[in-house]
Amino acid sequence: MRVLRWIIALMVAAGLCRVFPLFHAVPLKTAAAAKAAAAFNPAQFAETFWTGTLLTSLDRAVRADELVSLIQTDPAAAKKKYSRSIGLSEGYFYFLRGEGKILSVSDDEVIIAVTGGGTRAEVSLQAGLIFGNAVRDGTGLLSANDYPNSQDFNDISAALNHLVETSVQPKLRAQAKAGARISFAGCAEVNDEAADLKPLKVIPLQTQSE
């Protein structure tokens, strides 16, 4: 009788374990794949953001001729009116778009004039390696407050910079011919006004020959 009780108890326990297993055995490869799928994918995020949000928001950018004219006459007023900054930073960003005449072309930059006379080196479209957070932070479309882990937010910067280098700059280099006209949209980061404003160093987000 006692043995029978034990057998019944074991059978009930086995049945419960079957319905509510204490642990699951998962192949290592499956576990690794699940972890990778759950992890943040900055490249994928950047692609979606680029086409779905960034390129459809370029009309929010300030007109380059207006901005450059104000920088030339009153840089403090230009900063107050058109810039954005992050946290306690003294550096700031501009998000701009416009047209201009290409004055010169080198491996690292395409120099253009965007105001009246078309002879002054006013904007330098960056054609070399892209570093930093100007693309991520310059538009105001992304916020650190939305990312629990700042590593994810920083990875977005690298992924966006990669998109500029692979999708935008090759087209810019093909279009860049001294004397030609070009339209563009981009972001500029200003940390040192003496070095960064004249010409304004702009990371291109979109370019089009006219």
């Binding site: 992050i86 946290g87 306690l88 930073s89 003294e90 550096g91 390696l129 570093f131 930093g132 957070n133 650190a144 407050n145 939305d146 990312y147 629990p148 882990n149 700042s150 590593q151 920083n154 990875d155 910067s157 690298a158 910079n161």
Partner: protein, 317 residues
Amino acid sequence: MKTNWIKQAFAAGLSMAVLLFTQTSSAQAAPKQKIAVVVSTLNNPWFVVLGETAKARAVELGYEATLFDSQNDTAKEAAHFENLIAGGYRAVLFNPTDANGSIANVEKAKAAGIPVFCIDREINSTNAATAQMLSDSYSGCVKLGQLFVKTVGKEGEYAELLGIVGDNNTWNRSKGFHSVVDRYPGLKMVAQQSGEFDRAKGMEVMESILQAHPDLRGVFCGNDAMAMGAYQALVTAGKMDQVKVFGFDGADDVVRSIAEGKIVATGMQFPKKMAQQSAEFADQYIKGKRDFAQKIPVPVELVTRENVGKYGDYGKK
């Protein structure tokens, strides 16, 4: 009748004097509100400056402030939180030990109605702390990476000393640096080891790296304590001119070393600025403010031999 009037006036005067005296005494005896400053470690001068400055600013603002040392141990940090919740603290200025492991402590304080303001180090949550004031380590190390390439060149072997692997700052610094240096295939990282943000450990790790890789041309260190340790190892090996050392923090001894031409550069993080601002946030919260940005980046500035004169005492002069 006249005597009665005098007696009544005297009694009323006495009562008022007693009332005034007791009110003054009770006002004097009213305990100050308390703010806790919980710091990951006090075994590193940079964090001592961070903690002491936060405490001093809280005292200036009229609070009683206590500094707790977590000794880089999440369990000790948890015990501090238990104590400060039970001890009636009104706010916590917090430098966490672990981006994930410290979240539970912050959540406990939040559940007890105590706001937590993270300083310098982040927790991986956007709804536990009231605000997080964080050095922009990534951008700072992008700048250091650019200077590294300019100084060391586009070819050669280099090493990296990482900080504590559970800390986001470790990886934000490393990733910022590599976002630049990895673009130059001629630069080869031959060793990447943790020196745990510690000077002695940094020296020990650098000694062993030098034995295996005698041709190093540069070393990037995730903080200044490790940079000082690495430089000491290089002096012992007689390679201090061959291997260029880069740190991060803006510690006073490294700023002096940069001025003397020993260490090449560091990233100035402004611990005093962050600590003071966090104490002011806590004061504003206690007085009723609630709308704080969750993550507030604090810029990092590059300190080199060219501009070192502008920096010192853990900030800009």
